[in-house]
């Protein structure tokens, strides 16, 4: 059931919320049982068999966590072994359901073998649920979490606002928030929830779905062998960047908002990533909880392990600006590339996702190496910031747009076909309807090799207008978390808030009025909500729900 559907907004959510607070009067337990049942119902709504597949894996993880907690520190090897079993089971589970066909297909392709494969059910949100459970096992293993009852564990894994596409949370940061007894209806929570949900719905329905229409034909062209021209390529790549930006940030806002109704503050997942001035900063703003997960459970253990080995071998390790090149390659490059390749493959089945991950790994490595070595030859911090802030922004924005081509394309070759177009290798054309009106400029364009095509001029103008407006929104407007900063809209979200309901946006120094306290606040949010609901009849799924 999509958040952006009539049945969710007008039936499921009101019933669940009213039931939760009604049962909450009786105590915490009935309310939590109700929420677990609602979450199971939500999950099973799209496919009942998804639930049948995912439930046994949840039971297994619960048992392993239970075992981990009962084995004391003296039996370290057994504990590690048990954790290993748990991790392997989760990875095997994900691997079987999500990647089996891909591996068999690739094996057949390389070795000319003929492994047959029937179609498998891909359980909804399997990638997110698996990471969620892995984080839990690691936290129990490291003693950061005291495992609760099975009911709590079910609520943790299947809590419907975030079961399908995150945020990926830690047990300890979310579950204690359910401990309030009796369950209370908190007006501030409801107001914040309304704001987040309305903004998210508007982003998804009114912005993401519409701007995606400009990207779809461009990415469909390589499938029919139609060449992508310069302008079309860039419009397609930019439109997709904005589509996935508003789709995912809309989803994240809605997830945060729905959870907030129940008084639960989820961690920040999205924080104006396109404003980033470096790729490292981008990843601290885009899909924040995934970055956090991968850093904690893949990247950091890899760095520690490699550092220990190098130290044991007497080789140089990271030492600030005096770091040797070999140390940078091994201790920054290798772990970053491995982590981002996993990230790419985790997102989607296909070589194009792996390429996307590798490219981000390369960009991150260069960025980190630059940060480490730069003080050697460019000591003056002020001049560095003055020059590198805009340069870094352009590099980051460009890198993100170009790599998203791999994320969107149906294959590596399709992505390359679009990128060839963006590089101008298929020539540059403009619609005749526009070119014939440009006068001297048109003649100049013709001289530098631009030709005319018969595509629609008004369609091009519409695309240009959409992209320009969205660029301004993305760059200059405060985001939903900034708008709600006084009310702690998300965990880990910090802004330089100023007192008494007024705040300064982190980057653009725009003075904001507190949206909840402002007189026009309810009207502003209501317009977003109504526009979102008016667009529901053409609802499409969230892009991140496919992962």
């Amino acid at each position: 059931m999509l958040f952006n559907s009539y049945q969710f907004i007008f039936l499921f959510l009101p019933v669940v919320v009213l039931g939760y607070f009604a049962l909450g009067r009786l105590g915490r337990l009935p309310a939590v049982v109700w929420l677990v049942l609602a979450s199971i119902g939500f999950y099973a709504f799209s496919r009942v068999d998804s639930l049948a597949i995912i439930l046994p894996s949840i039971v297994l993880d619960y048992l392993i966590a239970w075992g981990l907690e009962r084995l004391d520190e003296s039996r370290a090897r057994m504990r590690a072994g048990l954790l290993g079993v748990g991790l392997a089971a989760n990875i095997a589970f994900l691997g079987y359901f999500k990647y089996r066909d891909f591996f068999l297909d690739t094996t057949n392709l390389i070795f000319g073998s003929h492994f047959a494969f029937g179609s498998l059910i891909l359980p909804l949100g399997i990638s997110f649920i698996t990471f969620q459970k892995i984080a839990y096992l690691m936290d129990v293993y490291s003693g950061q979490v005291k495992a609760g009852g099975f009911l709590d564990f079910l609520l943790f894994t299947l809590f419907f606002p975030r079961v399908v596409a995150g945020p990926i949370v830690h047990y300890q940061e979310v579950m204690p928030q359910f401990d309030r007894s009796p369950v209370r209806w908190v007006p501030t929570d409801i107001a914040v929830a309304i704001c987040l949900f309305s903004i998210g719905l508007f982003k998804k329905v009114v912005i993401a779905d519409r701007v995606g229409d400009f990207a779809n034909p461009v990415f469909a062209a390589p499938l029919t062998g139609e060449p992508v021209t310069l302008l079309a390529g860039w419009i397609g790549a930019l439109a997709y960047t904005f589509q996935i930006y508003f789709d995912f940030s809309g989803y994240s806002d809605m997830a945060l908002g729905i959870a907030r109704i129940f008084g639960v503050v989820l961690p920040m997942n999205f924080n104006s990533p396109l404003k980033a001035t470096s790729i490292v900063e981008f990843w601290s703003r885009w899909h924040v909880t995934l970055t956090r997960f991968l850093t904690a459970y893949v990247y950091t253990p890899l760095v520690l392990n490699l550092t220990r080995r190098r130290m044991a071998q007497g080789k140089p390790v990271l030492r600030g600006r005096k770091t040797a090149m070999s140390a940078i390659l091994v201790l920054i490059g290798v772990p970053t590339l491995i982590t981002m390749t996993i990230s790419g493959f985790w997102h989607g089945v296909g070589f194009q996702f792996i390429v996307w991950g590798i490219l981000h790994g390369v960009m991150l490595t260069i960025n980190q190496a630059w940060r480490t070595l730069r003080p050697r030859f460019w000591r003056h911090q002020k001049s560095h910031d003055l020059i590198m802030t805009p340069v870094g922004f352009l590099l980051t924005f460009g890198g993100v747009i170009v790599t998203f081509v791999f994320f969107r394309a149906s294959s590596v070759s399709a992505a390359i076909a679009v990128l060839r177009g963006m590089a101008g290798l298929n020539g540059a054309t403009i619609p005749y309807a526009i070119g014939s009106r440009l006068g001297g400029l048109g003649a100049w364009l013709e001289r530098i090799g631009v030709t005319y095509d018969w595509s629609s001029g008004s369609q091009l103008i519409a695309a240009g207008a959409w992209l320009a407006v969205l660029f301004v929104i993305v760059m200059a407007m405060p985001n939903s978390l900034e708008l709600l900063a006084p009310y702690r809209p998300a965990l880990d979200f910090q802004t330089p808030a100023t007192p008494a309901g007024e705040m300064t946006s982190s980057r653009n120094r725009l003075r904001l009025v507190d949206i909840v306290q402002s007189r026009l606040g309810p009207a502003f949010v209501a317009v977003l909500a109504v526009a979102g609901v008016l667009g529901l009849h053409q609802a499409t799924g969230f892009l991140y729900w496919q992962f």
């Binding site: 309304i194 014939s436 309810p522």
Partner: protein
Amino acid sequence: MTADAGHFSRSWLVICLLLGVVVASANVVIDPYLVFKMPRVNGFNDKKPSIETKERLIKAYEVIRAAPNGLILGTSRVALGLDAEHPSWPAKARPVYNLGLAGADLFTSYRYLQHVLAHRIVTTVVLGLDFEYFLIKKRDLSAPLEFESYLSVDRDGRPDPSRRWYHLRDLAEASFSLEALGDSIATVRASRRREALDVTPAGNMSEAGFRQETTELGPAPLFEQRNLHNMRTYRGRTFARSSPGEADAPALVALRAIVDLCRARGIQLELFAQPMHADLLETLDLLGAWASYESWKRELVEIGRGQARGDGPGVRVWDFGGYDQFSTEPLPEISDGRTPLRWFWEPSHYSKALGDIILTRIFGGADRGYGVVLTPDTIEARLADVRERRRTYRERHPEDARRLRSLYESVSR
């Protein structure tokens, strides 16, 4: 702050409800899709530019409201070119509704005919036939098509019980959707203009769209654009009478169904092969489809044969496709002016002026040497005549033949 937050939520809810009511009322009053039967007030909501995107919805409702005795069926060519209010329509056919639908294949026309016949007794149907649709080999009809949810009857002609829900859905989407709101705004803006994309209560499509495109681009670029499109779309396609083992073209199957339905209901059916500009005829020849075009016309004669039940009216097959004074109207140079041609907007869409001549020919009997009734006796002479005129045309317009050939070569490369 708690009190403020409660106030915020309550205000939000009230404003949401108010906004919802305002939007829905505006959409109902402006009625961009004509589903609420609201009056069309001059200068306020009389023009309906949404006909461009919602034609199938609008006409499904409008045709029933118009309670017609005569129908025009076919594609955008008839929607634009034929006038349902032309004086030459016979009395028994009036009022006439123009059910021409952009991109409608014959299955679509058949389904809309079924829809009308579930409500009305119709005496006369004029059906414009586009040769290009008979080149399409496959039509996936396994699932219901989107437009079928607008129709009163299922494919067997029985009342569709789910239509009641679809009707509610149509009303909900026409009143409570962002798309309808945008279309309402467009309706009011268009209604303030002298000329805009529009559909008349008789179903005639305004020529404003093509007039605007022609003034923007000029007729020659518009022709070139369409010629290119046609060459790319119909390359490598042929029409053949079904050989053993090969299924009939879906258009042929649907055409037979229309003919059978009209015969069964005693409806006078006037089929006509639509006029095309010489550019399109030449394109067909370049694509190697000329033989197909001729065998298609022979097939139409076959379909037109056979008697109506009892003494009822029969089926006439007309041919307006050939080289004549209308279709050979010369194009200006690409750089020359933006004045439209008199008879054609582009290679396949003819003007209302030519549509009037066609209707006069069919119903008024005026013989201006234009339009031939195809029968087993006339067909071969007609085909030979068109070939002869083609030869003369090429002799007199060698530059046009060259222009199309070089365009074709650029596509084939």
